[in-house]
């Protein structure tokens, strides 16, 4: 019984050490993450997707009624919040 336990301990230790060493080797040889400065020159690195701006509130087609919270307007006037309406001729 005692002999079986020792064999089992030795086997577990060997498997753990082997797994650790294998992982170490894999990570050491894996390609490094590309830095932001090299993204444009490395063709293997996909460019970051460009987000399209949200459509203006009055640009929706089809016509519908909807509600939304009021734009967050600070107590002072600011240009940072979304305009409620737009003017540009028609």
């Amino acid at each position: 019984m005692k002999h079986t336990k020792n064999v089992l301990r030795l086997w577990m230790a060997s498997v753990s050490l082997g797994g650790f060493m294998g992982g170490w080797v894999l990570l050491a040889h894996a390609p490094k993450p590309a830095s932001s400065s090299s993204a444009g020159s490395d063709p293997a690195v996909a460019p970051m997707a460009t987000l399209t701006p949200l459509p203006p509130l009055n640009a929706n087609i089809g016509g519908s009624e909807f509600s939304q919270p009021a734009p967050s307007v600070p107590s002072f006037r600011s240009r940072s919040f979304l305009p409620v309406m737009r003017t540009g001729g028609s």
Partner: protein
């Protein structure tokens, strides 16, 4: 805040209102009816509209609706102050330049090169006779009028008045002709993006409209090809041809929606030589022009604009 939007008058209509939703919904319905009714009455693209019936009766007295009479009266009152640069009697010139059907149809099927004859200088709309007692109008023989722009401003103001009966504060935009009544919740005005005429998906700046109206005229909207040449819908009454302006667009803020529309058009046609003089004669009016490089000009430099319109650049 609650919103409602739809298409009418070949443009986008947008309502914004504060208040209880069940009340505001009723207001949206009523305001839509105002727009729809006005569209039927003032369009030049339906032979049965009141406007086209009036045009067909030029040379004779014709009784008109109260709405038509009020709008014509307002339109005529701006002819002299704009030195004739605002003149609704440009319909034959518009048609001669190729704009003889709705802009959707025109963009789909451009005019053929020989279809139209050269335009003539439009007659003076001040010569139209308006009889308030009989609510009658007599256009001089041959005069044909187009109320497209000023009707949008007038209807935006009318719809805002109706919507305000059901809302704590509201704004109505008819293709960028905007009228506001009351204020948004927790804000000191309605934020209005000033569209870049060179790049319509971005704004050059944001205006804060606290009361009254604003309107924009632009040579970059409603364009079409005619004999290989790009035309637009802003007709210079002095020549009968699409206006040659160094500006791409002019936005006018005014207590009155029809006044804003009429002067936006006049300032765009008049350009930097005439616009400052035209606007200087009006109370509470400011203007903002955008040139070909996207530079803002006009009242923007004055303290008055910041005070009256809350403009920030």
């Amino acid at each position: 805040m609650h919103f409602d939007h739809f298409r009418a008058m070949t443009t986008e209509i947008l309502f914004a209102a504060e208040g209880r939703l069940e009340h505001v919904r009723l207001g949206f319905r009523e305001a839509r009816a105002v727009i729809r009714d006005g569209e039927r009455r003032f369009t030049r693209f339906s032979p049965d509209s009141e406007l086209m019936r009036l045009n067909r009766s030029s040379g004779k007295w014709r009784e008109v609706s109260q709405d038509m009479f009020d709008l014509l009266l307002a339109a005529q009152s701006y002819v002299a102050p704009t030195r004739g640069l605002f003149n609704p009697a440009v319909l034959p010139a518009l048609a001669a330049s190729g704009y003889d059907r709705s802009i959707e149809l025109l963009e789909a099927t451009p005019s053929t090169p020989d279809r139209h004859s050269p335009s003539e200088t439009p007659p003076d709309f001040a010569e139209a006779e308006l009889d308030p007692d009989g609510r009658r109008v007599r256009l001089p023989q041959g005069m044909q009028i187009d109320l497209g722009g000023i009707a949008k401003g007038w209807l935006a103001a009318k719809a805002a008045e109706r919507l305000a009966e059901y809302a704590d504060g509201c704004a109505v935009s008819a293709g960028g002709d905007i009228s506001v009544l009351g204020l948004p919740k927790d804000a000191d005005g309605w934020s209005v993006g000033l569209e870049d005429p060179r790049q319509p998906d971005r704004d050059l700046t944001t205006l804060t409209l606290r009361s009254g109206s604003c309107a924009t005229s632009s040579v970059t909207k409603r364009k079409w090809l005619q004999s290989g040449e790009t035309m637009h819908h802003i007709i210079d009454p002095r020549t009968g041809e699409p206006a040659q302006s160094p500006w791409l667009s002019v936005t006018v803020l005014s207590p009155s929606a029809t006044e804003a529309e009429a002067f936006a058009k006049a300032c765009l046609i008049g350009g930097p030589q005439l616009a400052p003089e035209l606007v200087a004669t009006r109370t509470g009016m400011v203007y903002l022009a955008v040139d070909g490089d996207g530079r803002l000009q006009g009242s923007a430099q004055s303290q008055e604009l910041s005070h009256v319109a809350g403009l920030e650049i």
